[in-house]
Assembly symmetry: C2
Homo-oligomer: 389 residues x 2
C-alpha cells in the first residue's frame, strides 16, 4: 500500500463512476465465496466509454483469474479492448510457479491493449506485492490503486491475514447467555440462540475455510459443524484433541464427507487411537509438543501453521471456553462475534476460560465494535487491537 | 380491571381526542417523578368542548392530588366545570384515613359538576380498587376506564407492584463485560461502562425510591450511589450488611445526606457496631434471622417487607454477584437491565452468583426483551416471567 501514501486521497483521484464500477467488481468477486481458497476472491470489469464490455470473477481454485475471465467475456462479445479500463479488486498477478495453475495476468492485460488499470488492493503475496503494478506501468499503462480498498479487503480476511501475519485468519464465535454462560450446569448448550442466529453462523461456516472446536465441545455437543441452514459448502472441520480421546462414535466421524474432519493431536498420542481414527476416514495432523506445551494443550501457533500448510486461510473457532481462552490469551485472533441470548444460566460454564485482567483498564478492549439486534438476541462483534494482548 | 373485561376494547370505546388528552395527562404525571412515593404519579386534565380548562399533577407526597389540582387550575381561570370531562391516569381516591393527607377526590369531582370521567387504570390500593368508580357512577357520572392503561401503568411500577405483590418493585441493574464479568480479578469495576450508560443509571436512581447493594460491593467499590450525572433527588441508599462489617470510613457514611444511608443487618449483629453506625448519622434496620437464614445472608422477603414499611415502593439493585443471585433465585425481581461493554475480563467476578440451570430450557428466560445500543455498549432489558422460577 506504500504507493498510495504520497498520492492524494482516493476520493479526489477517482470519479463516482469509478466507484460504481469497482463496487460492481467487488460484488462479482463474492460469487466465488467458499470456492477459491487458498486463492482470494477477485472480481474484474472492463469498461470503455462508460460501457461495460466484460465481467469476470475467480470462480474456483485453479480456474481462470478474474481479469482473464473479464477479457474472455469481452472478446467473446466481439469487443476490442484497445483503450479500455480494467477495474480489479486485487493487483493482477505477475508470476508463474509450479503450484500456480494460471499464467500471469499482467501479460494478458498488456497484450490486450487495455490503457488504464484501477486496483482496490495491492496483492500482499510476497511474489506480487506491487510488482504487478510496476510491470503494468513499465509497459506504459496508467495504474491507479486504493479505490474502495477497505471494502475490497473485507472480501479476503483470510488471504490478507495469512500474507501479513503468516497465519490463518481466526474468527472466534461465541453463543452465550446474558450472564456469560455457554452451557448449563449439566453441559447442555442446545440451543442457547435461535435459528436466526444459527443461520448467521452457518453462513460464516460456508465463507471460511475451517471450523475448529476443542475435544470437550466435540464430545459434549456432538456437533456436525456442517452448513445446513443456508446454502454453501461445508468447511474443513478441525478438532483439537491432543491425546486422541474423542470417541469414534462422534457424529464428526459418521458424516458422508468425513474426509473433511481433521483431528489435530500431539505426536505423543497413542498410535492405536490414531489408527482407529484413520479407519473412520477422518484425517489426522500430528503436532510435536514439548512437555510444557503438553500440559497446556496443543500449541496454537503450531496448529495454525499446520492448517496454513494445508491451504487453510481462515478458521471459525466455535469453542469451548478453554479453546476461546487459549486463542485470546495468545493474541492469535482477529475477530470475535458474540451472540447473546436473553436468558440467565446461573453457574453454568463461563464463555471464556482465561486468566483475568487485574483491572478494567487492563481488560481486552475490542476495536471497531459493531452491535446488531437479531430478534431478541444481540450480536456484538469486534476486532483485535494487535499487540495489546 | 374487572370492569373492562366485558366492555369492548379501548380502541373502540375512545376517540383519538380521548387518547391525546390521556397522553397529556400521562406526561403531566411524570412531572412529579421522584417526589410522590409512596404515592403514585398521577396526572389529570379537565376538558369541555375540546378545550382544556385546567391541568394538574400530584406534585409531591402530601400535596394536592392531581384531580384537585386540575379543578383548582380550571376554577382559578374562571371556568365552570358543569358538563366537563375529567381525564385522569388513575382512579380517583374515595376514602379518608389518618395517614392520608388529602380528602377523597370523588367528592370534589361529584360536587364540581363534571359529567364524564375517563380513567387509565383502576387504583389497586385495597381501599379504592373500583370503589371510586362505583361511587362516581352512583352519583350519575359517566365513567370509562382502560384508556392507555399500559402506558399509564408504566408511570408507577413500584406502586402497582407493591399493591399487587405486597413488596416493592425490584429492578436489577448489572454492568458487565462481554464475557459476563462485573469486576476484574483484583476487584476493580470502575468503569466497565461509559458515562452514557452511567447517565441512564443515574436517571433510574432518581426515579426509584431506593438503591440497594451488598456489603461486599459497598466495600470494594466504595460507591456514593447518588444522582450526579443527571438532575434529580438522591434515592434512599440501602446496604445489606448482615453482620455490620462495612467500615465506618465508607463513603456512604460521609455524604452530606447520610441520613439517607440505611444499613440492613441481622438482629444478631454486635451492638457495638450498630452504635458506631448510628453515630455516623446513617439509619439502621434490624432483621430477625433464623440460624439457617443467617448462613445464606439476609432473608430478602423480610428485607423487602422492612423497606416497604418505610415507604419504599421501588428498589434498584446494583450488585454484587451474590446479591443479584439471591434476588434471581428467590424470584423477587421484576425487571433486569444489563449493560454490556465490548471488553473481555477473563476470569474476573461473574455477574450473577446463582445455582445454575441444569439445561438451556431450564434457564431463566426474560420476557418482553428490549435491546438498545448506547454507543459501543449494549443495554438488554427484560422482565420476570413470574412463577417460572
Amino acid at each position: 500500500m506504500k504507493r498510495t501514501d504520497t498520492a492524494p486521497p482516493a476520493q479526489e483521484r477517482f470519479s463516482l463512476q469509478d466507484s460504481l464500477f469497482m463496487r460492481r467488481a467487488i460484488s462479482l468477486a463474492r460469487r466465488g465465496e467458499g470456492k477459491t481458497s487458498p486463492n482470494p476472491l477477485v472480481g474484474a470489469l472492463l469498461v470503455k466509454g462508460g460501457v461495460i464490455l466484460g465481467e469476470g470473477w475467480h470462480r474456483r481454485f485453479g480456474a481462470l483469474h478474474a481479469e482473464a475471465e473479464a477479457v474472455r467475456a469481452a472478446l467473446s462479445k466481439g469487443h476490442s479492448l484497445t483503450g479500455a479500463s480494467l477495474y480489479c479488486t486485487l493487483e493482477p498477478c505477475c508470476f508463474t510457479s509450479p503450484e500456480k495453475h494460471q499464467p500471469p495476468c499482467t501479460d494478458l492485460i498488456v497484450q490486450s491493449g487495455i490503457r488504464r488499470v484501477i486496483i482496490a488492493n495491492t496483492d500482499p503475496h510476497r511474489r506480487v506485492n506491487g510488482r504487478g503494478i510496476r510491470l503494468l506501468e513499465g509497459a506504459g499503462l496508467v495504474v491507479e490503486t486504493g479505490l474502495l480498498a477497505q471494502e475490497a479487503e473485507e472480501l479476503n480476511p483470510g488471504f490478507f491475514t495469512f500474507h501479513r501475519r503468516g497465519r490463518p485468519y481466526v474468527h472466534l464465535k461465541i453463543a452465550q447467555s446474558l450472564d456469560g454462560g455457554i452451557a448449563a450446569g449439566g453441559g447442555d448448550a442446545r440451543w442457547i440462540t435461535g435459528e436466526s442466529c444459527r443461520k448467521i453462523v452457518h453462513r460464516l461456516r460456508a465463507s471460511l475455510d475451517a471450523v475448529l472446536v476443542g475435544r470437550g465441545t466435540a464430545q459434549a455437543d456432538d456437533p456436525e459443524l456442517t452448513v445446513r441452514l443456508v446454502r454453501g459448502r461445508n468447511p474443513l472441520r478441525v478438532v483439537l484433541d491432543s491425546r486422541l480421546l474423542l470417541s469414534p462414535a462422534a457424529r464428526l466421524f459418521q458424516l458422508p464427507d468425513r474426509g473433511k474432519t481433521l483431528i489435530v493431536h500431539s505426536r505423543a498420542a497413542p498410535v492405536g487411537r490414531a489408527k482407529k481414527i484413520q479407519k473412520s476416514g477422518a484425517a489426522l495432523v500430528s503436532i510435536e509438543t514439548s512437555p510444557e506445551e503438553k500440559r497446556c494443550g496443543l500449541p496454537l501457533c503450531k496448529v495454525l501453521a499446520a492448517l496454513g500448510e494445508r491451504g487453510v486461510r481462515s478458521v471459525l473457532v466455535e469453542g469451548g471456553a478453554e479453546v476461546f481462552g487459549s486463542f485470546l490469551r495468545e493474541g492469535l485472533w482477529d475477530k470475535i462475534s458474540v451472540f447473546i441470548a436473553p436468558i440467565l444460566l446461573g453457574k453454568g460454564r463461563k464463555c471464556v476460560e482465561a486468566p483475568g485482567a487485574a483491572s478494567v483498564a487492563g481488560a481486552l478492549h475490542l476495536k471497531n465494535v459493531v452491535i446488531k439486534k437479531i430478534g431478541n438476541y444481540i450480536l456484538m462483534e469486534g476486532h483485535n487491537v494487535y499487540g495489546n494482548n
